[in-house]
């Protein structure tokens, strides 16, 4: 009889020793952190003096990343709850078009148009979720149907009502509105003016804005992205509801048996995804002043890609909002950065594919550590 592997007397044999290093490795956002460092190192080396890291350049990739983050937070929580939403992109186009039709065609005050659109779109999200939990059909199929339904209406309605597929003039309507700046405004303008005056950031050389900084504030889009990340992170890691989300996606039967309202959790997550898509749409409409029938094309996949790079499992029950946010950051920085590095835009997809594959392989490896499967 050999006692070589006998645990020492003062430790509990039921608790397996895990080193701090190993513990750090099984965090879902590890892939995102490694990727973020790699991507920034890469672009600092290859594109440092290309304008990517001047004030305009930073604002450029930050806005694009923030867009991805907004839809990635919703997609991430939904994916952890075990479902997909492929209608996100169409929802963005649809929500934007609704605001345009309500405010421009029907001349409603912009704040009413925005609120009604939020109600309408989250209701569609709830309907999506209700069909999924009621029929037991894969959410992949149900939301694929809504991808087409919503896109169809987005092209059809403005065609019928205005005989065109891009409705503009929303900014004129939004003038003086109290809710519009919450989505389309900018904050910290004074700070940026000061930095411009101090010569820390670039200023316009000519035109009516000569002397003003080229970047004149932080767009609300970025504020929304950060707020949604914070909300999602706290909800997921600090609340009982967060545990329910993990449980619903991990093993719904076991969760139901232990009293988790799985259906309610899933429907709420579909509503939250729709809410995020609507935030995206409202910010876009308030920034650009028009809604188009082709807005948001393929954005659903971009959201899912960001979430997957961020370490969430496609099978549900595992992932983190911070990881998804980092995934979105990587996505945005790579998409915009390759341009600054002077790479052919068609090769962007090759690079994205390589990152996606690398992230998935890394994530699978991490999952094996956790579950112990070989």
């Amino acid at each position: 009889m050999s006692n070589a592997a006998q645990p020492t007397a003062d430790s509990d044999e039921r608790i397996k020793e895990i080193s701090a290093f190993r513990n750090a490795l099984i965090r879902p956002e590890l892939g995102g952190i490694v990727g973020t460092i790699a991507v920034f190192t890469f672009f600092l080396l290859f594109a440092f003096d290309s304008g990517m890291f001047n004030s305009q350049g930073i604002m450029n990739w930050s806005i694009v990343s923030a867009q991805f983050m907004i839809i990635a937070v919703g997609a991430c929580l939904l994916m952890i709850a075990g479902e997909f939403d492929l209608s996100v992109g169409s929802m963005i186009g649809f929500a934007g078009m609704m605001i345009a039709i309500f405010s421009v065609t029907y001349s409603w005050p912009v704040w009413i148009a925005i609120l009604v659109t939020f109600v309408l779109c989250t209701a569609i999200g709830a309907f999506n979720g209700w069909i999924v939990v009621r029929t037991g059909l894969p959410s992949f199929i149900v939301t694929l149907a809504f991808l087409f339904i919503l896109r169809g209406f987005t092209i059809f309605l403005p065609q019928v009502i205005e005989r065109k597929t891009i409705i503009g003039g929303i900014l004129d309507k939004a003038e003086g509105d109290w809710l519009a700046p919450v989505f389309g405004g900018k904050i910290l303008k004074g700070l940026f003016t000061w930095m411009g005056d101090a010569g820390m950031i670039a200023t316009f050389e000519r035109g009516t804005k000569a002397g003003q900084p080229v970047v004149d504030g932080i767009p609300m889009l970025i504020v929304w992205a950060l707020a949604l990340i914070l909300f999602g992170h706290v909800l997921l890691t600090k609340t009982k509801f967060g545990n329910w989300i993990f449980a619903a996606g991990g093993d719904p039967e076991a969760a139901r048996n232990s009293g988790v309202p799985v259906n309610r959790v899933k429907i709420l997550m579909f509503m939250f995804t729709a809410f995020c898509a609507t935030v995206f749409a409202v910010c876009q409409v308030m920034e650009f002043g028009s809604a188009g029938a082709d807005r948001g094309l393929l954005k659903e996949f971009e959201a899912i890609i960001a979430v997957v790079i961020g370490g969430a499992l496609l099978t549900g029950g595992y992932g983190s909002v911070l990881g998804a946010a980092l995934g979105a950051l990587i996505f945005g920085v790579v998409q915009q950065g390759l341009f600054f590095a002077g790479v052919e835009s068609s090769l962007f997809r090759v690079f994205l594919g390589v990152i996606l594959l690398g992230a998935v392989i890394l994530n699978t490896y991490i999952r094996r550590i956790i579950t112990g499967e070989r």
Binding site: A38, G51, Q56, G292, A293, D294, S345, F351, V354
Partner: protein, 316 residues
């Protein structure tokens, strides 16, 4: 384990290196960026790429072509911001939706970058955003001219096969044509989608439901090629009046064989080539043409196809 992560990071970096090497050879001189609204799938813009590449070569300047992969105009606005941030000497861009693009273009102009509007937009809009000039074909006017011509040929009704319904300028072509004819556009314009089989079958369905249609108008090779097949299939080829925008291999063949009466050539090659030449000469010698340049509409008919046939889809 950490070595695996290192390897992964390394592999990612290595995978990217050939792409950096594949970038446009940096010329000493000026740098110009052309930003279009076209999705990757639109083959018509190939001529634009050829045009800008040739101009870059001949003028010895660095040129780049950028577009939003899905044709999303909001993405295009970001690309213009991005192009401006990288500090080129000039930006050549389309004005597919003034609401969205005006801001970024004006910001680029104000930041000291010379801008030329090409292809989509109007001379008025180009002036408004502070661009040097407009090079292109006013779409409504081109459609209107085509409508007048068709009216002269005795046409009273038509089918407009719109394969890019979300793009306002494509509707202006149909609307201009209807106004030129002096008829209501109504449901004579169909949303054909981008898939050739779908386009073909929608044209067949429309023509069998509306057999009295006098003419077919297509808006480019994407819709013209499947429409040609549809007309061959239902026996209306050569019988129905057929006009199209833009040229391409099949369209030129159709014009030659008499199935297509005319093609409206807006000369994409010139739309890409001329701005680079204009900008380079402006930056080197301070010379600038005093007016906008209309690259189209030019009607291409069966008479005198010669070079057009040779270079259709490449430089024409």
């Amino acid at each position: 384990m950490s070595s695996k992560i290192k390897k992964l990071a390394l592999a990612t970096a290595i995978a990217a290196v050939p792409m950096i090497a594949a970038t446009t050879a940096s010329a000493e001189g000026e740098k110009y960026i052309l930003v279009s609204h076209a999705p990757d799938s639109d083959s018509w813009w190939n001529t634009i790429k050829n045009g800008i590449a040739l101009a870059g070569e001949q003028m010895d300047v660095e040129v780049e072509y950028r577009n939003p992969p899905t044709g999303d105009l909001a993405d295009m606005a970001r690309i213009i911001d991005q192009a401006a941030a990288s500090g080129p000497n000039g930006i050549i861009t389309t004005l597919a939706d003034p609401d969205i693009l005006e801001g970024p273009i004006r910001a680029a102009v104000d930041a000291g970058i010379d801008v030329i509007i090409m292809n989509t937009g109007t001379p008025e809009k180009a002036r408004e955003v502070g661009a040097l000039m407009y090079v292109g074909q006013p779409e409504y006017d081109a459609g209107y001219a085509a409508g007048l011509r068709a009216k002269g040929d005795g046409i009273g009704s038509f089918l407009c096969v719109n394969h890019y319904i979300v793009q306002p300028s494509s509707q202006e072509r149909c609307q201009g044509f209807a106004d030129g004819l002096g008829v209501e556009l109504g449901n004579q314009m169909i949303d054909a989608g981008q898939d050739p089989a779908e386009i073909k079958n929608r044209v067949l369905a429309y023509l069998s439901a509306n057999p009295d249609t006098d003419a077919v108008l297509t808006l480019g090779p994407t819709s013209a090629d499947p429409t040609l097949l549809a007309l061959e299939e239902n026996g209306m080829a050569g019988d129905i009046y057929f006009g199209t925008f833009d040229l391409g291999g099949e369209i030129v063949k159709g014009i030659k064989s008499g199935v297509i009466q005319w093609g409206i050539d807006q000369q994409p090659f010139l739309q890409a080539y001329l701005p680079v030449v204009v900008l380079t000469n402006y930056h080197r010698y301070g010379v600038l043409p005093g007016n906008n340049i209309n690259s189209g509409p030019g009607f291409v008919t069966a008479d005198g196809l010669g070079k057009i046939e040779e270079f259709a889809g490449e430089y024409r």
